[in-house]
Symmetry: C2
Subunit: 544 residues, 2 copies
Amino acid sequence: MKRIAPISVAVAATATAAAICPPAARAQSQIVHDAEFVRMEKEFGAQWGADGSAVREKLAALEDKFGTKPNIVFILADDIGYTELGCYGGGKIRGAPTPNLDKMARRGMRFLSFYSEVECSPSRAAVMTGRHPIRNGLYNITLPGEVGSGLHREEVTIAEVLSAAGYYTGFFGKWHMGGEDDHHPTNQGFDEAEWSEGNPPWWVGNRDAKATDDVGGFTQRGMIHSPGPENFPYETGGVMRARKGREPEMVYRYSMEKYNTYDSEVADHVIDFIGRRSKTDRPFFVSFWGKGNHFWGAHPDFRDTPAGTNCAAQMVEHDHNVGRVLKTLKDLGIAENTLVVWCADNGPMYTVHPHGGYSLLPGAKGETREGGVRVPAVAWWPGMIEPGQEPLDLVQITDWFTTFASLAGAGGHIPGDRVTDGIDQSGLLLLGEGKGRRDFVFHWNRDTLEAVRKDQIKINLKPRNPDFHFYEVYNIYHDPAERFPNEIQNGLWAGPGMTKLIQEHMLLMKKFPNRKVEGYYRDFDRSFDPEPSPVYKTKKQVDW
Amino acid sequence: MKRIAPISVAVAATATAAAICPPAARAQSQIVHDAEFVRMEKEFGAQWGADGSAVREKLAALEDKFGTKPNIVFILADDIGYTELGCYGGGKIRGAPTPNLDKMARRGMRFLSFYSEVECSPSRAAVMTGRHPIRNGLYNITLPGEVGSGLHREEVTIAEVLSAAGYYTGFFGKWHMGGEDDHHPTNQGFDEAEWSEGNPPWWVGNRDAKATDDVGGFTQRGMIHSPGPENFPYETGGVMRARKGREPEMVYRYSMEKYNTYDSEVADHVIDFIGRRSKTDRPFFVSFWGKGNHFWGAHPDFRDTPAGTNCAAQMVEHDHNVGRVLKTLKDLGIAENTLVVWCADNGPMYTVHPHGGYSLLPGAKGETREGGVRVPAVAWWPGMIEPGQEPLDLVQITDWFTTFASLAGAGGHIPGDRVTDGIDQSGLLLLGEGKGRRDFVFHWNRDTLEAVRKDQIKINLKPRNPDFHFYEVYNIYHDPAERFPNEIQNGLWAGPGMTKLIQEHMLLMKKFPNRKVEGYYRDFDRSFDPEPSPVYKTKKQVDW
């Protein structure tokens, strides 16, 4: 559906070509990894080879049993801080218990050192492409009214990679990687999708919204600087539905009332999808990218938490929905053939505290301090992932891309003409702690490399303490909250090894240049201009 | 043993009388509680009565089975932050796994809202007497060279209360409540004890210490401002051993080498004590107040942690020792008749970071911010405490005093001529979450009431943010790290209810005045004066 008439026509002309772009043709490609990974590969190659054989053996046995490749359910939660789940030391103490995710962790694998990108759209683009946002170009949060900013059509998504290997793919929930035709999930590899472009800035931005609408504790007046409900001078649209290559239709226009219950609505779609697809012979990949834990809006059935905040209601609701999805897989008898991965897209957003989530780690969404990027992640796969594991191995959100591809036997469809940051972590999942394949993470914030983690050490290239110039160094085991920079012996920590690692990372960008994605704001439809706000004058006045 | 000749003679004259002071005579006393507790008692009296009957029934059934009152093992750990154990979200991520305490929690009860006093000696005096340090007078940390500061002889300790009810009592480990005769554990109700007066300031303070002594990563030169090893101008003594009413003997003089392995040594004594006492008919109470997690010194067998710090080695060693004690109880077949309580005395000490422990909650030892006083606590009692519970009920460290007395049927021996802050939490232990009997905690820091917690709300009477005058208010569910004061609606939170609660607390102090304990420093033995440090001069000099 072309809801942004003057722009979308022009873009639509290329959209179809992009959607059909066949990754299958790249079947023989070799993944281009960062230099530091190549170094590790040289060091640990022999061990990795043996591990790889063990993984392939386990997968082959599973395929023999079920007759297909494994299904993959990927749940991406919004703005959940590292310490929000009960199993990470949160839950009840935050007035929002998370029994389902805790159980998922007990029966699966809980990642202690999982890192996202710093914020929403970039993290989504990272996991979709296996590439840091600086490379795939989507390193800013897309906003209503922006044009040209979104997931670039020449990026190859995990949906495209898995489709090429025979998977049926579905997307449900919050997309937030652009709203133009090129960006639609069904033009980015998904066979079917029902999605919203983004969060409250879209959902409240229509003429019917009232300043007093029920948004679970907040009124719209408190949301945006605009004094009235007409925060955006144009129609922001609604929830869209489409099948691959077809024109999308609008399911309903955005409204806060629908937003309140959106996570549960998305879960319903996911459960319906799983039910339908479990009756076919093709393996499926489904993305459940829900609402929680994201500031405004709270489902009426979940508002009675001890904390009494929107985010507590959202956390409890989302936890419940995760439980419903897992129960569906068990009830259908396909749990043993389905990997479920749950993780957060970034840390909490304090702008709307107490309704925006929390982390005991200092730092928020948009920052490379630990609180912004170290987030919870859980994987569950009965019979394949040993229950109760809590690996300390470093994992970065791009790794899901490469790992899903590997588990699906689709690694050959990953393009070899660009750098892929995601690392195949199937050994970690199936063989356990210590089998992770990275001991480093690059923390980009928009177009700046702000920090690098290597083993226990994190170097902040943009120090927060004004007494430090050039860099701060932390030992993340000693000081996970980054309170005591340069503890002792910083010379050793940030020596030539770290310099070389950063240098090679930057040099590779010269060889494989980063994509440019530049959004701009479209002109206003002036007919939406609201009446000017009335000016307040006291009723009682004294003349003097 | 009179190691401080000129003072201890005078004190010793009264010591024996104090030790014999018979709490049994007070069997009919009524506990004097704070006004807020009295208010709660009025509101919940009927429910508490029914709960009390259920608790007594469970205890009677146990006594029928074992023929005695239950044994009590009380483990007090030093400076362990809220998030240090694996089960609190720490452990592995701090490079120091805690499998034994995690298992104890899984098989017992893990307290999510347990509060200590702000620092070492005060917390110890609080748990010994069931009274806040401001009341019992020991609200400063005792230091080497100080005289007159310690646990007052007219305070009634849990050892005295339990002794009066027929218990055999033992103390092992770090006492830190004064070193004069009056203060000795065996003059404060314990039948037998082997103890050290305090921590490294005592252990390094002897003439044989060398600046290069092995203290697990640190040299003494880095410890105290003094340039040499002779930090104290007198002998600080050594580890003491005694039986009730007998003169103590010194087991060995303090040395860093012995300090490195002290937690394991104390555990050995505790295990030996349990083995001996399990062969008798009398129930026992034993205190295991170990070393870990306390800055200097690391056991050679536990230094190979991923973190490589003293405190990681101490944490792992102490966790191992807790496991040894629990195994002993199981092996002897007395686990079902023994309550084991483990908790920390206060938050971490960052003075010696990275060797002094850690908490993700901001605030350290000596502070009433959450990091200073919210600490981990675990209880284990197979068959009596339902496994896997994680109550959010507020518990304060003084509560162990009253709870132990209650479980031992010794509540009648608690004196009725003074305020007791400890609340009987036996219902919480034996009946589970929601059965706790406090929804408030007073946070005193030395002689200042700095903060009060009531339900989810904490009021800081001494704000840290200079923009707030008079007080800051936090919702601890929304904001456990106390980052966002006065969130919203502070008028409601800190209204007349909170004022009344504080007012009544202070008024009760007029009726039952606080004890005064005032230490002073004794004169130096000048013969210990070290040679002055050599003055550094460069060997190469240029004349110009």
